[in-house]
Each structure stands twice: as C-alpha cells, then as structure tokens.
C-alpha cells in the first residue's frame, strides 16, 4: 500500500475520527487521582490498607461462596431472558457485576449482583442506566450497596437498550448522568 492509499484508508476509517465523550476527561482525571491515593498515604495509612486488604480477602471468599449459592438459586428459579457481565472502568479497579434480566408483565426485572464497587462519599449513590445504540440513557434505579444483590426495574427492553452502566451520582437535584461510570457492559438475549 503506498502513502496515498494508506492515507485514503485511514481517512475513511471511523476510528480515525472517533471522538471521546466530553465526560471522559473528568473520568481520566479521577482515575489518575484514585491511582495516586495509595502512593500518597503514610506508613500508618498503609498499615490500615493492609488490614483492609486482609478483610477484603476474607470478604471475597465469603462473596464467592454467596455467588455460587446465588447462581444455584437463580438457576433453579429463573434463567432470565437477558444476561451479561459488567466490566470495571478505570474509576473502579477490581469492581465487577453480573446481571440477569427477566421480562415480566410489569416490565423488565433487573437482578444485579455487584462486587467491590468503590465506596460512596456522603450524599452519593449508585445509579443504573440502560443505553441504546444512539446513546439515549434510561435510568432504571438507584442503590447504595457496594457489594451485593439489588433488584431494579426497567420500562424499556434490553433488546433496544442493550448497554448497562452503573454511575456514581451526587445528590445535586440534577437528573442527568454524572458520567462517573464505574461499571459497564452489554446484556444479551439468552
């Protein structure tokens, strides 16, 4: 491929023109700030981190046990109509979640099992959203547990809104997403 052909190829490729969303700048700044925290702590704080890490390891074992049990329970009651795994963003290293969505007469029941979400500051909460290909966000509920199972409800179908994201929101009377995504992923029909 000569230079002109290469240039044509690059200019015709959508990735060359891909624009990051405006909120990504804040997400990057936040992710780097989060990464700096352990490095800036003093020895005493580092000891507290180690104790917390030990406690987290024990909690992880318990959580794994619960996951196995919960999987059996869900499997025996309902397999759901859609399912997916949510990945952590740079704002929440180590976080993850699984989701099972069941179509009912009342709407779509969203069973979310989240693990190791970052702790909330005073006045903050988690909010779940479904998003379609055009980027339209539909809120499907709020919660405050960083580890565990919550049930949310959606009035729109995951077939049309297949991307599920979890954000951290401040209590600021602003109904729009803060853009501070901690988990995201697609759900698929089973």
């Amino acid at each position: 491929m000569n230079d002109l052909e290469l240039l044509d190829d690059l200019l015709a490729h959508p990735s060359t023109w891909a624009e990051p969303p405006p909120e990504l700048e804040d997400m990057v700044v936040w992710a780097v700030a989060e990464a700096t925290v352990p490095m800036q702590t003093d020895a005493r704080t580092r000891r507290r981190w180690r104790r917390a890490a030990s406690a987290l390891a024990v909690a992880a074992v318990l959580a794994a046990t619960l996951v196995v049990g919960a999987t059996v329970v869900i499997g025996s009651s309902s397999n759901g109509d859609y399912a997916g795994d949510l990945r952590a963003t740079g704002l929440a290293p180590g976080a993850h979640a699984s989701v099972v969505i069941t179509h009912t007469d009342a709407g779509f029941r969203v069973n979310l099992h989240a693990r190791r979400l970052p702790p909330l500051e005073h006045g903050e909460f988690y909010e779940a959203w479904l998003k379609d290909a055009a980027g339209t966000l539909v809120p499907i509920g709020t919660f405050s547990s960083s580890n565990g199972r919550v049930t949310l409800w959606s009035g729109v179908s995951p077939r049309d809104f297949p991307t599920l994201t979890i954000t951290i929101e401040p209590s600021d009377n602003n109904q729009a997403s803060s853009g501070q995504r901690v988990l995201m992923g697609d759900v698929h029909a089973r």
Partner: protein, 198 residues
Amino acid sequence: MQRARERVRPEPRTRPRPSRDDLEAFRRGDPAGTRALYQSYGRLVYAVAHRVLGSHELAEEATQQTFVRAWQAADRIDVDRDPAAWLATIAKRSAIDIYRREARRPKRALADVPADDPALVTLPPDLGALDAVWRVRHAIDELPADEATVVRLQHLDGLTQHEIAERLGLALGTVKSRSHRAHQRLAAVLAHLREAPA
C-alpha cells in the same frame, strides 16, 4: 491577501503539547497536570484505542487505563521532551491488553460459532497501522476546523466535492481549495510516517 486569510482561519482544535510545568504536575499526581496531558493527547489515545477495540465503551476504558499507567510510570518522563511517543506506546499496549482480554472472554457457545469465524483466529492489531492512526489523527486535529470538515465529508461520508459544497453552502472552488490544502498537510505528515513511527 495571505494575511487576511490567516486571520480568519479557525484555530486548530487541540491544545499545544503540555509544558514542562504541566508534565511536572502530572508526575506529582496533580489533577491539573493530568488534565493538561489529556487535553493534548486524549483524542489521539482514544482514536488508537478505538481502532484496536472497535467499541466506544472499551476505548474509554483503554483511555483511562493509558493515563493511569502513564502516571504509574511518570518518574520516567523527560519533562523537557514531547511525551507523545512515550504516551502512544502506553496507549497501544493498554488497548492491546484489553483486546486480548476481550478475545479470551467467551461470548457464545463454541459450537454455535462457524469454523471460519474471524473471532476464532486472534490476530494482534498491526502496530504500524496504530502509529499511522495516531499521526493522522494528530494531523486532522491540527487542521483548521473548516478544512477538517471537508476532509471528513469527503472520506468518511463519501461525498463528492459538489455534494460537500451543496451541504455546506460553499462555492465549489472553496471546497476544492480547502480539500487541496488539507490533503497537502496530511500527505506531509504521512511522508515521515515510515521513517519515524510514533
């Protein structure tokens, strides 16, 4: 006439390369330093990540990871040099790591996948192509906005110059001259691509 044309030319859309103070602030973990570095290179990192991963969500994740890794290695930054090549390397590695992670993730039962499905053959992304994406995207962002618009309509949207003139409400000659100037700048960027990869 030349001076008059330059006076009305829109500004390029990227911030200039970060200053020594910006890079020192980034090395200290100061959010202002991170913001400065992102404003200079965030779009380039994102374009490379999108080329590797083909998904906006994953490209966002790779972009965040790139800057976190850059900070973790910030003690190796030479604050007197342009960090573009160093950051481009981290961006490519971050995107490829996520690409490999995603390639390992089972998406559906293997029995349901045809034997010739490209997903069964995991090819590493072409690093040379990623260098080209970085440099061409940088060149596009350096173009005046009116020239970048013409190039985008011509190549990405596949419009003819007549159609571009109609859509933008411009004379055909104006579209031609903007296109010519923009392509000259882009070709100059690519002329050095093979000798000095990002």
